[in-house]
Symmetry: C2
Subunit: 212 residues, 2 copies
């Protein structure tokens, strides 16, 4: 069996969790099966694109019937590594960090926020949305003890790199970076940049185009 991991299109990976949302909605509505056409219609995409994306997860559908919703959810979840809950720490309990601690969307997607870390002494020991805030010095120890390998970085841009330098010395291997700066990490650490400004730029550009 050849490993095609390197050939998965990034756009497909980004769409799969969106399909998952549709599947959950249909399941709640009592549906058992779903066709690529159904999903496409719901998302204003074209059926062939959905079919191609789903095929990559390895699922096999039935002509005329489509896919079995539960099975499809399983295939997608497995494909993007969401089979079990992934535990993560929030680093930086400011405005954005606090929000993400209370964002129930993550739980639904299998991301479990275990705790938060911050340099601000006033926050230590406090809880936000039921999650405790620890000093940054405890990160290494707790990451190891709790087997947490993912960090959600929500510190101000100025502190981001120095905090990352601490993170990379722990068991943490994946950093989901919400700070609008690019980070320097050693090989083996994976960074996913989440730049909210990009989405805003797309919207602004479309709006301006529509205005003319």
């Amino acid at each position: 069996m050849t490993n095609k991991a390197h050939s998965i299109p990034l756009p497909t990976i980004k769409r799969l969790p969106i399909y998952l949302g549709v599947l959950n909605k249909l399941k709640r509505a009592g549906r058992i099966n779903v066709s690529a056409t159904d999903i496409a219609k719901e998302l204003s995409l074209i059926p062939i694109q959905v079919r191609k994306d789903l095929a990559l997860t390895g699922i096999i559908g039935k002509p005329k019937i489509g896919y079995e919703i539960d099975q499809l959810r399983g295939f997608i979840n497995k494909f993007i590594g969401w089979e079990n809950d992934t535990d993560a720490f929030i680093i930086g309990a400011g405005a954005l960090g606090s929000a993400l601690m209370g964002y129930d969307g993550f739980e639904q997607q299998g991301l479990r926020i275990i705790a938060a870390f911050d340099i601000n002494k006033k926050l230590h020991g406090k809880e936000i949305h039921g999650k405790k805030i620890f000093p940054l010095e405890k990160l290494k120890d707790l990451a190891k003890r709790m087997k947490v390998s993912m960090a959600v970085l929500t510190v101000p841009a100025d502190n981001a790199q120095s905090v990352v330098d601490i993170i990379v010395k722990t068991e943490i291997r994946g950093i989901w970076n919400f700070s609008p700066v690019s980070l320097n990490v050693p090989p083996g650490i994976i960074v996913q940049n989440e730049n909210l400004a990009s989405g805003l730029a797309v919207l602004s550009t479309k709006l301006r185009k529509g205005n003319k």
Copy 2:
């Protein structure tokens, strides 16, 4: 002069605000000029890609010297429509909405949050991060009076569509959708979906690949 608006690559639009961040950083460091090579190095991209992106904004650089930072910022800002501050309302003052109200990253990008709206009566009249919360019924009137044409949607998935149905009856023309559902809007209204789960899926997939 031909209008090439339809041929701007979306990936370019997403990268431009990231370049802007680099430019601001360099400017603070006292730099006057910058080359595509400088920007590329900072972001782990290749120079030709940066050069191509910048060329689309219409700026002209000087061989050997590069681009004048201030001028380049102007071109990028103009290109993505961030010349003047854009006013926006937050719709849904829950966890995510509150966070975005306090997120200083937006101000830096020219997005000014004017106020928030929520159906929860307990929140009406209160302030979060200095922004007042109004009942949803006031949206139409205030959007018109304050000439606000952009809404940041941060309501729970279940309420999203019904809230959108209200939004589209106002002066608001652009919706930045943080709810993980796809929205139905009449022609002329522009929706930009911001799906945090997509970024998480990319990170999970990369992590899993690194693990094997």
